[in-house]
Every structure is written in C-alpha cells, then in structure tokens.
C-alpha cells in the first residue's frame, strides 16, 4: 500500500479555530524583557504614540496551541503529494534547513565589513558559478528575491542595453500561454506586451512571430519547456528571429527542472535567464514565499547586472562590488534572500552534476508516466507533443459530458486525499488541469493519484453531487470567493 491519498484524521470534532484575538484577555502577556539597567528615557511628547496598539494579549501556551493547530489545518509537501503545475513542489531537504540555520549564516548582518563575511561571500560566489554553468550564462546576480523580480531585472537590463545603444524599443513579445508575471513585468519594464499566439501544437507560432518581429521589439520572453510542458523545438529559429531585429531573448526559468544537464538556455540562444530556486532547487515555498530569483546573463550584458555583485580580489578574498557605473542599480534593500540562497547552494552541492541531470530525467519520467495513466479521462490539451516535467490535461470533454468543471474535479480530489493540480492555467487551455509531479514522488503515489483522478471522472457522471459538494473532509467546505470580494473583510 501507499500512504498517498490517505492523510490521517486528527482528533477532535470538526470545527474551525478562532483568531488569536479571540484568545485575548486584558493583562495577559507572553513576552518578558530584561530589566532596564540604564536610565529610562521617553520619546518627545510631540512624537509619542497616544493610544496603545490593540494587539492581542495572550500567554505563550495560547500562541503555541493556536499556531500549532493552524499549521495542522494546512497541507504541505511534508503531508502529501502536491502536484501543482508550474510550481515544482518537490521534497524540500531537511538538511538544507539545518545548515541554513547555522548562526554563522542566520545571525549575519547585511552591512558587516567584508572581512567578517568571507564565508557568506564565498558561498554566493560559488553559487553564481554553478548557476552560470547550469544555464550557460556568463555572470549572474543573486539579488532578486523571486522569479517575478528576476523578470523585472531582466527587462531593466534589456532597457539599459537598448538605451545605451540609442535604440528606442517599445515592445516585448510574449506567448499567449505565458505566466501572468511575464506581461506584468514587461509593463514594469516600461515596455508594451505583444502576445504571440500558440500554434496547433501548443508551441510558439513561428510564422506569427516573424510578422511581429521588427525594430520596435526590445525582446521576447519565453518559458522552455513552455507552460504547456512542451519543449519549443524551434527555439533556434525563435531566437534568431528576435536577434535579427536586434532584440534580446529572455528565459523564464520556472520550468528549468525539466532540462538540467540536458540542455541550457545559453546554448538555445537566450541572453537573459531567471531561475526560481524555490522550484528547481527545492527551497521551501513557505506558504507563498520566500523564494529567490537569480538572473544570469551573457557576457555582453554583464555590465548591466544589479549592484552590488560578488567579486574576488587578487588576494583571493571576496567582496561586494558597488562600483558598477553601467549597472541598472539595486533591486533589493540588501543582498537578496540570502537564507534561501544558502539552501539552493546546499541543494546543488548535495546533488552534483549527475544528480541534477537525473532529477530532470525522473521528473520527466514521472510526468509522462502519470499522463499515460490519466489520459483516457483527461486528455492532453496538445496531444501531438510529448510533455516533459509536467503536462496540461483538459476537463473540456468531461464538462460537456457531465457539466462538472475542472474546479469540481479539483475539490473532489481533496476529499480523496490529494492536493489538486493547478487549474485554469495556462489560460489558453479551457478547463485546464496542469499536473507537475516532480521527481521526488514514488510510482505508487502517482498510481494512487491517477486512480483517484479517474474516479472523479467516473463520479462526475454517476454521482455528480460528490464533486459539487466537495470538499467535505476539510476544516471548511467550499468557500464563497465572490462574497469575499464583495463584502471586503480584510482584518478583524
């Protein structure tokens, strides 16, 4: 048997948990500070706060029980399979957590003299080198705290590059299947997003791209394999077309987990690459963050990288270089999400070249095996191509046949003990179910998930109420999101 699909039940009757404020009692307090061993001093009346902030007043045990219970109301990779497409929810090594907590890292102030941070700087230096080798880039910045910020970084580099060359470029091309951050980043870069359609195969329509490519184009953003899990086989032509008009090609690294050690953005003609360490290199997502979005670039673009960069002096010591006249500047208050980068470094060192390559191979194997198991009920959105690390299936037929939508399937999967896949993304696919199993899942888990998914298809016809009323095994049932937006209640 497998434990997948069978989370255990907790003690106690089903019920929610009030907020920490509901536990508050005047005069209770968890904190104690040391005695004030210096003369007291109060801030000038003019600047003083008049009314104390109405924070909850609770004891330490109240906090411990409240947040322990809330944690148990949350599903994580550590509780079960988490096949969110595009999110690469693989196992987060505990070893990385342990080393990131070493006081020598955790208690380091960002503005210490370099002489006291050589270990941290060497780690960043080594990490940059590994990321460049993996992506085929020549230099990288580790400053962006997430992928979207990496995109902004890349687009500001594009802008600086063209401006320095006195070119007025206004447009950036993105596939219609692109993730929302791409167009949003294009906008923040001061460009206009121009969509290029996908063709019948689910790949960039190269003919259409050719028509769009002109002197207004600053560049193109592409995810490869793309958000449909398909490899852009004409990547050479795509890159050439953009380069021919003087544009730059940007690689959205969200799907890098598919190709490690097999091919590299740099060899495909990409000029700028961002990496999501919280996807490909298994740094924990933290319920929404933190992440890290390092950005690598080809040699010609290196001067534009954010400031500071980590450099090595002739005496072998490391330092943060702020003397970068052509840099686009600073994208983060300090040195980026260092604590996350430590975990990414640990992950890379632990795996080594072969381990990384094997991860991509097995990620693809898992995705293809799972796709084969479910395709009869949930056909691939673009069956002509072979998916890589993830696949996009559609509940279109199911909906026509039974009226049940992808969302109903997703909620029913919860009652069957699984976190649902990503639904309704990419937008170009109706009733999309985007499944990314990742390499850390077992064959048995995939099989249990597949039979649960197929069961929902069967139930959609036979017992639609099971889907419609799902989930019933969670602390709360299906939530009214429309109501939440209509009657805004954003605080207690």
């Amino acid at each position: 048997m497998t434990t997948e699909g069978a989370p255990v039940r907790r003690q106690g009757p089903p019920t929610g948990e009030g907020t920490v404020r509901d536990l508050s009692r005047p005069g209770r307090r968890a904190s104690t500070l040391g005695p004030l061993d210096v003369p007291d001093a109060i801030v000038p009346e003019a600047f003083a706060r008049r009314r104390p902030a109405d924070l909850p007043e609770v004891s330490e045990i109240d906090l411990v029980r409240h947040y322990t219970r809330l944690s148990q109301m949350n599903y994580g990779v550590d509780t079960g399979f988490y096949p969110l497409g595009s999110c690469t929810m693989k196992y987060n090594p505990k070893a990385a957590e342990e080393v990131a907590a070493f006081p020598g890292f955790r208690r380091l102030h960002p503005l210490q003299p370099h002489a006291t941070t050589q270990g941290a700087l060497e780690l960043l230096f080594r990490l940059e080198a590994m990321l460049c080798e993996i992506t085929g880039m020549s230099r990288a910045t580790l400053q962006p705290p997430a992928g979207a910020c990496g995109e902004t970084t890349g687009l500001l580099i594009m802008r600086a590059y063209h401006e320095e060359r006195g070119r007025r470029r206004t447009k950036v091309i993105i596939p219609d299947s692109a993730h929302g951050t791409n167009p949003a980043s294009v906008h923040l870069g001061g460009f206009q997003a121009v969509p290029v359609p996908s063709d019948a195969r689910g790949l960039v329509d190269v003919g259409a791209l050719e028509k769009l490519a002109n002197e207004d184009v600053a560049g193109l953003m592409l995810t490869n394999p793309n958000t449909l899990g398909l490899f852009e086989e004409e990547i050479d032509d795509i890159a050439r077309i953009v380069h021919d008009v003087g544009g730059l090609v940007y690689y959205d690294g969200a799907n890098l987990n598919a190709i490690l050690g097999r091919c590299r953005p740099g060899d495909m003609g990409f000029d700028i690459v961002h990496i999501n360490t919280h996807k490909t290199f298994a740094t924990p997502h933290g319920g929404g963050g933190p992440g890290a979005g390092p950005v690598g670039v080809v040699e010609e673009l290196a001067p534009y990288l954010p400031s500071p960069t980590v450099e090595r002096a002739d005496d072998g010591s490391f330092f943060l270089d702020r003397d970068r006249p052509r840099s686009i500047g600073r994208l983060h208050g300090f040195n980026g999400n260092f604590g996350v980068l430590v975990r990414a470094y640990a992950y890379l060192v632990a795996h080594g070249a072969d381990g990384l390559k094997e991860n991509s191979e097995l990620a693809a194997l898992n995705a293809n095996y799972l796709a084969a198991l479910v395709t009869d009920d949930f056909p691939l959105a673009f069956p002509s191509g072979r998916p890589m690390h993830e696949f996009v299936a559609t509940a279109r037929d199911l909906k026509e046949r039974t009226g049940m939508r992808a969302m109903d399937v997703a909620k029913r999967m919860i009652d069957l003990g699984f976190h649902p896949p990503t639904v309704y993304f990419p937008l170009v696919v109706p009733e999309a179910l985007m499944v990314e199993p990742t390499e850390t899942e077992t064959k048995e888990t995939l099989e249990a998930f597949a039979s649960a998914l197929r069961r929902t298809a069967e139930e959609a016809g036979a017992q639609p109420d099971l889907l419609r009323s799902a989930p019933t095994t969670t602390p709360v049932g299906r939530l009214d999101e429309a109501r939440a937006a209509r009657h805004l209640k954003l605080r207690w």
Binding site: R28, A41, V43, V64, I235, G287, G329
Partner: protein
Amino acid sequence: MKFAPHTEDDVREMLAGAGLSSIDDLFAQIPAEVRLDHRLDIADGVSEMELAADLRALARANRSAEDLTCFAGGGAYDHYVPSIVWALAGRSEFYTSYTPYQPELSQGVLQVLFEYQSMICELTGLEVSNASLYDGATALVEAVNMARARRAGRVVVSAGVDERYVEALRTYGRGSGYEPEVLPIDARPDLGDDVAAVVAQFPDRTGALRPVADLFAAAAAAGARSIEVFDPLSLGVLAPPAELGADIAVAEGQCLGNHLNYGGPYLGVLAARMEDVRRMPGRIVGETLDVEGRVGYVLTLQAREQHIRREKANSNICTNQTLMAIAATIYLGWLGPRGLEELGRQCSARAAYAADRLCAVGGVELLHPGVPFFKEFALRLPRPSADVVDDLLAHDLLGGVPLPDADGRALLVAVTEKRSREEIDHFARALAEVLA
C-alpha cells in the same frame, strides 16, 4: 544525496507504461543542436555528512552577531527572536506549502495572514494591509507605483529616506518612467498637482526624529499620496503613520521575529487606506463563509494581480514573503501591546545611554546635535567610520554602519533591547581605545 525514490525496476516499468524504451526518448524533442555536449562542470554530489561539513566551514568563516556584539542597524536589527517564533513558523505544514490557491487545504496559512493584516493595521492605524512584499525597499517601490497608478506624476523623496531605498526607486523608476527627486531636509517643497507621491522616513535614515506631518499635509493639499517609511518596533512609543498623515505606510519587517540572515529573507510591510485597496500590490486575504456558513479565509481581490490582470497589473509580485509574515504574526502576539511599548522604551533608553557614553569619548559627537532619536543615532568621528568599524572588530564589536555623511566620518549606531549597559560601556571603552 538523492531524493528521487526510483528503483531500477520503477524506471523500467514506468518507461514501459509511458510507451518509451529509454530515458533519452523523454528528451527526443530537444533539437540536437541545442543539446548539452558535456557533463555539467559541477562537482559530484556529496553525502549529507559532507554537505554539513562544507556549510559548517563556510558559516565559521563568518563572524556574526553570535560572536560580535552588534550595534549595526540601517534597516536590519539585532532584536531578540523568541524561541517560539521559529518553533511554530518552522512547522513543516507551513513552510512546505505553496501559495494558498486551494483555500480549503490552506486555512492555516490564510488565517495567519489574516491575523497578520489585522495586526499591521493596528500598528499603523491604517485600514488595509497586504500579505507581505519582498522587503522594505521594494515595498516602497510598490507604494510609489500605487500612487502613480492613481496619478502618473512626480515622486518627491525626503533626503531622510534610506539611501538604499532611494537607489531602489531609481532602479525601478527607469522602467516605470519616473526619477525620484530628493528633497533636502527642511526644504520647503513646491508641490503641484503633477506630484504623485511624497516619501518620508520616520525615524529617518540617521535615526533622527524629524517632523513629517507638515510635509504630508502639503502633499495632501497637492492631492498627492503621502508615503511613510516606518520602523514597526517604534510603534509602541512613536505615533503611527496614520496619525502623521501617511496614506501609505511601508516598512522593513525583519525586526518582527526574523533573523538577520545577511539581508534576507526579510519582510516587506505595506498598509494603506481602504480607498487605495484596489491599487494595492500582492496577495490580500479576506474573510468569507463556506457553503455551510462557517467562517473561512481566501485570497481575495485577485483581479488586481498579475495572473489575472496581466500587463495591466500594478505589480508583478507572485511569490512573496509569507513565511516571514507568519513569523511576524507570532512575534507580535508574543510581544502584545505592553511588550511592544516596553520594547520601544528600552530601545530608546539604551540608545540614549549609548549616545551619552560614546559622545563622552574625545573627538566623538552627534552628527545632528539636539535632534531627538529613537533606537538609532549617527555619530561624527574624527576618522573615517569604516576604518573605525574595522578596528572595533578586534574588540568583538560590530560598531555600527558607516554613513557617507560627513565625508565618510559618520557612523550609524543602533541599540536594541538586547544591548546591556555592560556591552554599551565596553563599546565606549573600545571606541576610546581605537580613537586614541
């Protein structure tokens, strides 16, 4: 190390199941020209034991606040992190979960974020908070974008704002089409209806408490948005942003139970008025009801966000700093209202004591004599401050953060509730020595 569980049998059976004969078949669609022609030039993998040894060695090559008595601040502070914070925020159900797209499976994270938003509103006196941004500097950038989404105008920034924050504005401004205009301290700003945002920091970048209310009033008169950069842990004793007239308040939330971590992961705090909620960046959690009328929490107002609004979105943030917001929530619950006030008093009292002792050292004086301050103050030294900081290391002291001011002779000294009289006295003695 190896985390993929596949046995050889698994691989064989799964290939067959997928109708493939080899692993290479999975990558057949990659054109030959772009295939990698060499093994990645990265060392072989290691065991966990070796991994721990490698990282332990790197960690020991640093001298952190664990070994040095830390008087460094400048936006990141050595406040005490109580053990419950990470004992709870470190629960794996929290940190191994993704953004709560499936609310029924994510009530834990969603509710904590709702509590976080509520506490931030209580602190700032403003009406709405989002569920975290990257850090303080990028929170300021987002706040400016909010203001400019309302009125695409000029961005006026007080010279009291942290130089790194201004740098960030300059960087992002290139893309968004503005250049931050730095307003000298005490200069009378001329603000017309072409101004989108006015930014001030309180306490300012030198720790000084300088009135911002007039500036914000002028901004209001010009129909611009007033943005305050604040210190969350000052709000037990200092007036909250709303009272000072701020429309939008942003802060670095590292001080709220997060470790120094060499600069990140930190916490971008942003609160605003309800009328601006639809221009607010990032995730927002709202309370709602389930089919049976039970209270529950969801991500709401998603129509603002990139995944729906795409190029029309004000922000592209997706992954944020949720885990740090969870830590901040637990930390604020630990402090409570009285703890917050006591902590503020302790910081200002210890800072005042430190300033007295340090200024008693020959040649050392306050950079801004007579200007009140909270937990941080700037000194004018007889020598370049960077050199002095280096010399203080020999006394196991992280003496502060060198400022460009006073041609590099200014030193920013931060004093948290952790710094005892004894440590401060030691600092004063050491400073006297290195300056002798």
